[in-house]
Symmetry: D2
Subunit: 277 residues, 4 copies
């Protein structure tokens, strides 16, 4: 029996749940999981349903669309492991953590490749038999470098790009190729400490807590929709290097948590915010 | 326009959401908030909906019941502030915290009275103009003491009894009068350290984290369904008195959080567990 | 037997602990608690000792000073409950929480008075028999208002001013009267969301965690040395009003924790940071 | 210049800090870090100092010992990376996490070998070029199996044995060979849910928080001195398998944190508790 996931983001109206569940019920499908949320201030309705059974998904999608307000966004997909590409630079903790989850079967995704602007993590990727593409940024323009990356990615067709401590800023042109498909881990509790060296900034400010933020990448550095955040407590005895070391544990866990939500189609993006079921 | 809350706990079947939402839609009512959860292992369906509009609640309830499996439990109520009675002994932090929330209008409930086996907290209750009933347990049997408590409570007709550090064990006979209506705060991270003096037990065991647990009271001491838990980190420098002092902050916050969930009909009890929307 | 607390902040040198403990030992005093920390980057030595016994504190202080580098700052005090004044505006949760701790004897301080620019919290203060001074800011200049506050405070001679949700900005002139003696609770995880309406800012940014920060007040709004921070997790379903409500629980606990550290002379301020023992 | 760490656990007396620091000072050594703690209830003094300089460590140790009460325990060591052996069974997350930290140079230890009762994790160990010894427990007695383990370990001479989800109970005989040298990760917030299948137990009890505990192994299962604990929040929607999956993230981080403390000689064990600097 096939399994599907349905995502609806629509202007709110009376009867939406009834209309959608009635279509599903009348086709004899079984709803395994269902969530709704209404943002009253924005008058938005969010619905996510997992269901199973035999159906013609295109016809079903058309019928659901027809029952909803005109400006509703609807997505209906068979549930399957997504394809991802991991981008990284030199630090091994986020990449390694994802590779271990992949190795144990916990990560429900296909890692198509690792792409990096340095070769430092080639041995690690190859230990887990993941193709590694080193695309150096040295001696070429940002534009040229991104062009080479895009060519490489075009062949891999990933559902998501995962920036696992990829330490270069992506241009809006690059980002537009993968709108809402790029997940980054930022090593601070955003919006505190945007930009470079957040641990140094945090050390200078004398904070008692540091954090990490996983977010979708959009045109504005560190300002994309936040998916997950977590923190750890520190004290005055931490140098910024200690913060960096301690921070790695929260970075890798937050990135994995955010990716897992994306892989299961549990994230809606609306404006600059996420709704997560 | 009136507001209602509907709670359904039912054996799971295909089409339950559709059936219930169709009844609500056809009566022209507006669903403001809707949550479902299916416990697949136990084959249980949980649904909570808030809706508004003009309707005959008894007729609506009857129609919903008729559409559901025979063994479904259904509750439909107009949304209103509940009546509570707070039981306490000598410590002021949980009682005081609830009184402050009441005073600022944050606690959406009527505190009908404070009942205690000592008079220590009478002045505090009276500062906030809440009737205080001191019912001493001294010189009388447990049975006799509980009898006096029950008489006092019978006149007050509370929706919930809140044990805000009430340091006596209630007999099953007493509990049966207020099944699923008594909320207790236990000063440990249950099921660790059941029984008396949990902070002393925690100190002896050398734990690095202490916690608090709010739960419904049932026949077995500290074994009722858990509603909310939280923790704070400690270290070797804490004596058990320090733990007790630090623990108060988590106790009062966890109790208030659990009570707030109960006041808004957001808790289902199934077996010895809670499902919370 | 008298109890003393000694605080030393000094350029670091070899033998400082030895020199200080030797003076204390030779006078037959007993060290009950001792902490040191060296900030190697800044070459600063921090030491805090509690000791007990009979001694001439002025002579002891002079001897310790003489043994230390010239630019060392030394403070030696008999341990005693400090005097505090609480400033507030309209919200009751931080003030009420401190009053309850005072009422139970947990707060080891004398609350000399509550001062507010509104009269809303007069009844609450009076419930706990604390003098309340309403000093309205309406119809007068900031300068004039602060002048009236300073006159009121001059008579009360507080060790610390506690801003328990005091919603006005204090001028540098005011702050200079109480350098490192004013503790504020800011309702965000600083340095995120400085300035007005942090919960609204947080809501707009779509964060998944909110926090509170207790800090000393200096000339720059929300930029003083941080004493304590804590957070709670939220999700998309929180309106900014919900955040505000949830945030109160973390605000009051963080403020009380920071005040407690100050009352026990456990905080050093160095530059814009704190070292806490 | 050489670096040393000094650990003292002694009955408390007046002047201990003075005596020890005076010996260090008079030899011209430089204290880089110093911590003390007095457990007043038990009348125990704990001191840990890191210092640097040229000295004869045996003579220094003798002089310090002579200055202390007879029953004092003193340890003085040159600071060096410790040797560890990791024991595991089938789950890869704790082992993999340690290997990644090792690979990046973050783990300041030599991993001498991985030892397991199954061969499942042989490929993972070998990816990182760590010798793997599979010592099956099948078809032989517990005694015989442990004998083979001990023979293997005797040749490796580890400072610490790290039980990275090693799913067999060690006999007291085995433990006595490595008193206070075996660190285990237990997948619950001890003392809740001792013994087998803690996540199943936690699921059954309906807790709202799960945790992990790293502890030294002693004769009594899950009752050794606790080194580190942490938790994550869950809700009713977690099956025990979901708890297990979520729990892995906290297990690996807590184990790494505890190991790091041991590797830097930051843990004292006194009775069944730890004091950690």
């Amino acid at each position: 029996m096939k399994k599907y996931v349905l995502l609806i983001l629509s202007p709110d109206e009376k009867g939406l749940i009834y209309k959608v569940t009635s279509i599903i019920f009348k086709r004899g499908l079984n709803i395994d999981k269902n969530d709704e949320y209404v943002d009253s201030e924005e008058n938005r309705f969010f619905m996510r349903a997992e269901f199973s059974g035999e159906t013609d998904p295109l016809a079903l999608l058309a019928e659901i669309r027809a029952s909803l307000p005109e400006r509703a966004e609807v997505k209906l997909e068979e549930i399957r492991p997504k394809d991802i590409v991991i981008l990284c630079t030199k630090e091994n903790h986020c990449l390694g953590d994802l590779l271990l989850r992949y190795d144990s079967g916990e990560l429900e995704a296909n890692i198509k490749a690792v792409v990096s602007n340095y070769d430092h993590l080639k041995p690690l990727s190859e230990k887990f038999e993941i193709p590694f593409y080193g695309i150096s940024h040295e001696g070429i323009s940002r534009q040229e470098h991104e062009q080479r990356m895009l060519e490489c990615l075009a062949a891999l067709k990933p559902d998501y790009l995962v920036l696992a401590k990829y330490m270069r800023i992506l241009s809006p042109e690059f980002v537009h190729h993968y709108e809402r498909q790029i997940i980054n881990i930022h090593h601070s509790f955003l919006p505190a400490f945007v930009g470079a060296n957040p641990y140094k900034q945090a050390h200078e400010r004398g904070v008692k807590i540091i954090g990490a933020t996983a977010h979708f990448v959009n045109d504005n550095l560190d300002e994309g929709p936040i998916i997950a955040q977590d923190i750890i407590k520190i004290d005055h005895s931490y140098t910024w290097r200690d913060m960096q070391k301690a921070g790695r544990d929260v970075e890798k866990v937050v990135l994995a948590r955010a990716l897992n939500l994306a892989l299961h189609d549990r994230i809606f993006v609306h404006g600059n915010k996420t709704v997560i079921f």
